[in-house]
């Protein structure tokens, strides 16, 4: 497991999402996963797809139970909201605190802007966790038990996973703007090191969110769509 981190330290944040803590000595991936009760194949597919952008085992990932996939997506959400966002928030606050009065005012606007972004991200995540995931689980349950409750059929008529995909709003736009404002338009004097730190974090967050969205769009959505199709066909009979 230590080798994984030596190979690509960016995977640290993924490993921590699985609940794995440092200090695993020379134990192998398999041993560590067993200890933490983690499906080792799922773990390997996830870290490999983060490590190598060209490696995306769509079919393999779709083969895992939804529970595993969603648990992982939930952990990522927690990571964004509990760790990453507060970190960036603090850096941005520092930016306005340590500058003079005149540029301080415009830097506080960056602060406000970032809070607007956080609000959108929170809303987005809340909708997924409270509306989309429960729906997905009820679809999976019906599929596996081969028993379709009427309430689900009714719900399917109103809402399907395709709606989720189309609702998938573009919260990336605000992140994109924030990067450009800091890179191109921030008035001097600002602490350059602080700006670099903020930008690095924003780029990382963006890359992470893109990987996250890739799992939703290419693994979760097709898997659910397949089961919805089955339900629709078998209900009609």
């Amino acid at each position: 497991m230590a080798e994984v981190i030596h190979l690509n330290y960016q995977l640290l944040q993924i490993i921590s999402r699985f609940g794995i803590q440092l200090g695993f000595g020379d134990r192998s991936i398999k041993q560590v996963c067993r200890e933490y009760n983690i499906d080792v194949n799922f773990f390997l597919e996830i870290i490999n797809s983060y490590h190598d952008k060209n490696y995306f085992p769509r079919k393999n990932l779709q083969g895992f139970p939804l529970k595993l996939i969603i648990e992982y997506l939930r952990e990522s959400h927690n990571y964004y909201l509990e760790i990453k966002i507060p970190q960036i928030e603090q850096l941005i606050r520092q930016l306005s605190e340590f500058s003079d009065r005149i540029s301080g005012e415009s830097l506080r606007m960056i602060d406000t802007f970032f809070h607007g972004y956080i609000k959108e991200l929170q809303d987005h995540i809340e909708r997924e966790e409270e509306k989309v995931y429960p729906y997905v689980f009820s679809v999976e349950e019906a599929f596996h038990l081969k028993k379709i409750p009427d309430s689900l059929v009714e719900r399917l008529g109103e809402y399907s996973i395709d709606d989720f995909e189309s609702e998938h709003d573009n919260i990336e736009d605000k992140l994109f703007d924030l990067k450009n404002i800091i890179i191109k338009y921030l008035p001097l004097p600002v602490d350059p090191n602080l700006c670099h730190a903020i930008l690095t974090e924003l780029f990382r967050l963006e890359a992470d969110l893109n990987d996250h969205a890739r799992i939703e769009d290419k693994v979760l959505v097709p898997k659910v769509r397949f089961m919805e199709k089955w339900i629709n066909e078998h209900h009609a009979q």
């Binding site: 415009s106 960056i110 338009y185 008035p187």
Partner: protein, 199 residues
């Protein structure tokens, strides 16, 4: 100088060949692309990145003004010429740099073509300069930042909503900022608006 891509959109082969032979008399490195089917124009314009589009009125007749405006490339580095082969039609086409009458003499046509090509060549050599937003774009940006809708902006600046949309597209392309909240910060940082105005 790089090649200038010219799209000749005309139903009549006589017209197309005639226009090409006239353009060849001018001393510009043109490369030509002919379009004879109106439905194909949009795709070809997207693909070819034309700097000069020459189209006849009969070719464009079936499209609405709005369709033409969105189909033809915009910006000051592109020139659009109309060949008015429907002199008796009520339809007035707008947005063209020059109109060539079907009855114009060879000399007149060459003069019009030359004028357009010369201004294109001049503009394209300046193209490497960084793009700044124009005064008009600043007006639009100010109103966007203050929370106006496209319709309200159109009313305040006495322009059409389509023009407002075009300005907004250009502003976003030039500044690299997509959201209204982001544009507001840009406007504040550049003192186009004050924080009191927002509140």
């Amino acid at each position: 100088m790089e090649n200038v891509n010219v799209i000749i959109a005309d139903l009549s082969p006589l017209s197309r060949f005639g226009m090409i032979s006239l353009l060849r008399q001018l001393n510009y490195p043109f490369s030509f692309r002919e379009v004879s089917v109106p439905e194909k124009l949009k795709n070809i314009i997207h693909k070819d990145q034309a700097s000069l589009v020459i189209s006849s009125a009969s070719f464009l007749e079936k499209f609405s003004d709005y369709q033409i405006q969105t189909m033809l490339p915009g910006g000051k580095y592109v020139a659009k010429l109309l060949i008015n082969d429907l002199p008796h039609s009520q339809r007035k086409f707008t947005g063209f740099n020059e109109i060539i009458e079907f009855t114009d003499t060879e000399r007149t046509i060459l003069r019009k073509l030359n004028k357009t090509a010369a201004s294109l060549a001049r503009l394209n050599s300046f193209q490497v300069m960084p793009e700044e937003i124009s005064d008009r774009e600043k007006d639009v940006l100010r109103l966007v930042a203050l929370g106006n809708t496209n319709k309200e902006i159109a009313g305040k600046l006495f322009i059409s909503s389509h023009t407002v949309i075009t300005h907004r597209k250009n502003i976003t392309a030039k500044l690299g900022i997509k959201t209204i909240a982001g544009l507001t910060i840009y406007a504040l940082l550049n003192k186009l608006i004050t924080s009191e105005e927002i509140n």
